[in-house]
């Protein structure tokens, strides 16, 4: 068996049995990176030597019985917006192009404690602002299923790396769909947990009230296992919550009696026919396995995007003020006046999409507009949350697509930002309401590009989603690029 065929959990089990060593697994994945990376550009930073050194160390700890967890020894890729001590962390931005954090984000520390081998940092849309990974200052990542297409975003590097076996699993972050949508485009499983489940300490903020770290994985079992590992109640993050985290308990093939609601508005105009067909077929599978599936009307869907962009951009405009050329990162040369230095450093350091969002965010918070825009958006957010509360009073979960289409061609989205924003329609409200959502591959379209099924749960109900996704996966059978390529 090729090492790359293993899922993360399978690999760790094989390592513990002595069938594979951590170094062998690391070398296998590094070889794959060597082969694919020039074409795909999944990584901003690759730490070959560090990975091999970690692999040696971890192997010893496994042999000594010090590391026994289900992910011990498995190589992982980290989205480049999570701080890693001593390793470049750029947010795919020129302004952080030379930033080497002096501390490690809590989610990554949790992985390290579990014996993960950190391979490097994955490419993303600059500061997670984008849906294609094309706004990266370090070049776009390509979709491993078809390199003329984008991998989605903003966690495009993480999703593509998992799909192309350039890692066994990856961490991403999701502010408006940034894990689920690229997972969908790249044919992998991605999950955005309930807000507060994974510590944001060390995650470079985009929209603080919306950001959550989550897994990108080969299957639902890996996904649940990773989430169980990274979730923690962290006293350094005031918004972190104390809750149940035994997600792997939900890896049960049973959906009998589960009530699944399908919002009619999710399947209207704008949804690609192929995507619609595959997603509804997946719903049918769950129904055949005993779930009760029915259509319903979810209110306010169309208001989620304007609400989201108002809140996320407002928060971003403030969160990104710290990038000013004073303490770290890029400083424009030859500035002898303070504000000139600020302006030049930021104008040269940020890309166009980031500037666009910072400007909108500054505007909606500015004197005279705060009530009309920002406060209004916070009120609509309350209404959106209420409409989900009503839905979850009737249903265990909501089922829909992740995105209106499969992965678009490179360059097709950047020319029209508004169109790109509209593509977030199915994922964005989940962040506004703090809900968990999972994306599971449910087939390919006529061009052979993956389609993602999205399941949305009520707050703290990840286990229901995991159980349904796992059950669907059992019926669906294996789905991966390797399987498709017949490897």
């Amino acid at each position: 068996m090729n090492i790359l065929d293993y899922t993360a959990v399978e690999l760790s089990a094989a390592i513990k049995k002595g069938e594979v060593s951590v170094v062998e697994a690391t070398k296998a994945v590094l070889a794959q990176i060597e082969q694919k990376e020039a074409e795909l550009n999944c990584y901003v930073t690759l730490d070959k030597e560090g990975a091999l050194a970690q692999a040696n160390d971890i192997q010893k700890k496994i042999d000594a019985g010090e590391l026994t967890g289900p992910l011990a020894g498995v190589p992982v890729a980290i989205k480049d917006n999570m701080c890693t001590e001593g390793m470049l962390t750029t947010c795919s931005s020129k302004i952080l192009g030379n930033f080497i954090p002096t501390y490690t984000s809590e989610a990554v520390i949790n992985l390290q404690k579990a014996g993960a081998v950190i391979l490097g940092k994955t490419n993303m849309d600059e500061f997670a602002m984008g849906s294609t990974t094309e706004t990266s200052a370090f070049g776009a990542t390509k979709n491993p299923w078809n390199t003329e297409h984008v991998p989605g975003g903003s966690s495009g590097g993480s999703a593509a790396a998992v799909a192309a076996d350039e890692c066994f699993y990856a961490l991403g972050s999701d502010t408006g769909g940034s894990i689920r949508q690229p997972a969908s485009y790249c044919g992998v499983v991605g999950m955005k947990p309930t807000y507060g489940t994974v510590s944001r300490y060390g995650l470079i903020a985009y929209g603080s009230s919306l950001d959550q770290i989550g897994p990108l994985a080969k299957d639902v079992t890996d996904c649940a296992t990773i989430l169980e590992t990274i979730a923690s109640h962290d006293l350094k993050d005031s918004t972190s919550v104390e809750r149940d985290t035994d997600f792997t308990k939900a890896l049960v093939d049973d959906v009998k009696g589960m009530k699944i609601g399908i919002p009619r508005s999710y399947f209207g105009d704008g949804l690609d026919a192929d995507v619609k067909e595959k997603v509804l077929a997946a719903a049918k599978v769950l129904e055949e396995k005993g779930a009760i599936v029915e259509e319903f009307d979810l209110d306010l869907v169309e208001y989620a995007i304007p609400t989201y962009y108002t809140i996320a951009d407002a928060e971003a405009s403030s969160n990104l003020e710290r990038f000013d050329g004073v303490k770290y990162g890029f400083r424009a040369e030859d500035c002898d006046e303070l504000h000139q230095m600020y302006k030049r450093s930021r104008s040269q350091g940020f890309g166009p999409e980031v500037k666009r969002r910072i400007m909108l965010g500054s505007f909606v918070l500015s004197s005279g507009y705060y009530d009309a825009y920002y406060l209004k958006a916070l009120k609509v957010k309350a209404l959106i949350k209420k409409s989900f509360d009503e839905a979850f009073a009737k249903y265990d979960m909501i089922l829909g697509p992740c995105a209106p289409t499969t992965a678009p061609k490179l360059g097709a989205s950047l020319s029209d930002p508004m169109k790109m924003y509209l593509g977030d329609i199915y994922t964005i409200s989940v962040n506004l309401a703090g809900l968990p959502g999972i994306s599971v591959p449910c087939g390919v379209d006529k061009n052979g590009l993956p389609v993602g099924l999205q399941l949305i749960g009520d707050c703290f109900n990840e286990k229901k989603l995991i159980q349904a996704a796992y059950s669907y996966e059992q019926a669906r059978g294996k789905f991966s690029l390797r399987a498709k390529e017949g490897k």
Partner: protein, 96 residues
């Protein structure tokens, strides 16, 4: 287009956000900002009278630290990424 963004507005936003735009970027920014605001304006269709603005999704409150010193001297680390430093301090253009 209902919203018209003037040069003054873009310059003002530039001061707030500390961004310096070229003439070409300014024109684009005026267009983009107006388009987004038009789009956001549809929130005005919703009656939100009496709705409490929601900053936090969950009713989590009172997360505190005890008043105990937990950090030691870490200044070498803190200064590690400084674009310019002198005497253990960050150096910036004169503000006096």
């Amino acid at each position: 287009m209902a919203n018209v963004i003037t040069d003054e507005t873009i310059d003002y936003v530039g001061i707030l956000a500390k961004l310096e735009l070229s003439a070409e970027e300014k024109e684009q920014a005026k267009k983009d900002l107006a388009e987004m605001l038009d789009y956001i304006d549809q929130l005005g269709e919703l009656d939100t009278t009496g709705v409490e603005p929601m900053s936090h999704v969950f009713p989590v409150h009172n997360v505190f630290r005890e008043d105990v010193v937990t950090n030691g001297d870490d200044r070498d680390n803190i200064l590690k990424n400084a674009p310019e430093e002198k005497d253990g301090m960050f150096l910036v253009p004169n503000t006096f």
